[in-house]
Amino acid sequence: MAGLFARGRTSLVGRLIGTFIGQSRTVAGVLVWIGIAVVLAILVLAVLAPFIAPFDPNTKVASPELAPGGPFLMGTDRAGQDVLSRIIWGSRVPLAIIAVSTTISLVLGLPLGLLSGFAGGRLDRGILLVMDSIYAFPGLLLAIAIAAIIGRGILNISFAIAVVYVPTYFRVIRNHVASVKQEPYVEAAIALGMPRRRVIGRYILPNVAQSIPVIFSVNAADAVLTEAGLAVLGLGLPPGIPDWGFDISLNWQRFDSSWWATFFPGLFIMILTTALTFVGEGLNDILNPLLRKKEYKAGAQA
């Protein structure tokens, strides 16, 4: 089983890297590279936070609401903490939320999608109905309801966000499975009496795996925005953990007198989410052959 997984994955990663390099001169290719570079930069920021941050993020280092300048490149916030240091440390939260919440969504959405797409019939319709109801519900409100009940903390918040995005994973994977199932080689495998579990593991899963990176990067951006929304509404992480969303909620009421304490955290949220979307859009263009006419034309000319 493990061997099969590894084979599916390496071929996918290899293909992706190959396509990236081949496409690096198209718009999609450029966007992907910019996106990857920005996400990596923020990752470095998060890992090296203890070494780069000029001040302790949770200590009052100067008088409150100092304008940017001098030792405080981005000024100080309402509590007299250094905004830049809090931004550097705060990059850890969205990355952690992305990692945990997308993993939870995937762990719930992938098996359900495989089951629903492969089984079809009544079971499929039943799961679809439940997933569609969740999908139709305003995501932030759902996350609010869950977060209000299960309380604060990275795991809790990630879980609240994950529930919102399970239907996205489910939908994409289910539709993909349903179409792959019609392929002659899958029908042949079933007709030859191959056990269902092996058909799924050997033929369907490796095929479906290629839609995961796209959903991942789209969901990752949404997860960051949802976390920020929860934080602004007072349902984020407990105080003491530097977090971009929390910093907005702490300072926004003083926006007209000390704009920097709210502006910079928001800017960084936007940079991260936009970069993630670039990665997703680029991946989608590369993996979705419907929009890839340009490549065919180029091939015909060559």
Binding site: T26, V27, L31, L129, V130, S133, I134, Y135, A136, F137, P138, G139, L140, L141, L142, I144, A145, I146, A148, I149, I150, G151, A221, L225, A228, G229, V232, L233, G234, L235, G245, I248, W252, F255, D256, W259, T262, F263, P265, G266, I269, M270, T273, T274, L276, T277, F278, E281, L290, L291, K293, K294
Partner: protein, 341 residues
Amino acid sequence: MPRSTASLRAYVITRVILMVPMLVLLLTFTFIILRVAPGDPVSTIFGERGNPVVIDRIKTELGLYDPLYIQYFRYLRDVFTGNMGTSILTNRPVIDEISSRMPATIELTFSSMFVASVLGIGLGTFAGTRRDRLPDFATRLYGAVAYNIPIFWFGLILKLVFAVWLGWLPVSGRFSPRLSPPPTVTGLYTIDSLLAGNLPAFVDAVAHLILPSLTLGIVLSGFFVRITRVNVIHAMGSDYVEAARARGIPDRSVFFRHGLKNALVPVVTTMGLTFALLFSGAILTETVFSFEGMGRFVYLAISYRDYPAIQGAVVYYGILMVIISLGIDIVNAFVDPRIRY
């Protein structure tokens, strides 16, 4: 023709009947989240410092010690009889609170949808017809950035620039305190003031709506740009557009009558899906602008840990979404005969 009308009617009737299981499913789901999920609302509300005696009393009052199935049926009965409890914060029935705030959210939602569709469809068409050239790249950049702006933060910036610094528009609220609001007919200030023939009130209500709907509309337009662009590209590359060109129909007319018209059908149908996004965004937008709608109610309910109000809001939004999705499906069936049964 009569056959297709009959099939449309059959579709509408089936969809209306299907609403009942969808509603029950949704209410059950809400119940599971709010009651069955690990963790208990009252303890979360009061935190670890809460007085156990008080917590115990409130839990008894809310019936949280009863068996789950009894709680479940009581909850369904309460929802269907419109009894969603009393808000801890305002001490008014939650249902009254919701119905008095609903028009504000409807006003905001519709004006934002207007902003988003004008911007999104306009820019998306612009980009789609100039594929892979600089305008296309710029518009895609706009789409990606707009969709990813933290909406709360964006609202704050618009407010600071246009209301505080430039002073062009009101800072917050739905209506100036110096004017008296129009008599309530629909609850929508814009419509009520027009009905009353009160022009200054109408101008005031619109002025208060501009910044919140721009905030929400611009963010949502990012989504519209993307789907419009893809669909325009798809339609303009299709066989029927090629055929129209081959017949010597002028480019303008090919574009408007064959390309754009067909490209917009999927755009209009996906618009329905964006209502969920709109309501999420409205919660944050209303909070920034102190716009007294449902979203602001949710924010206040959370801040004061007003559990009945949170539950009421979730149930209310759920019902609203079921009704909206019914409406969208009917519109889709009307536009696209293939959907009907």
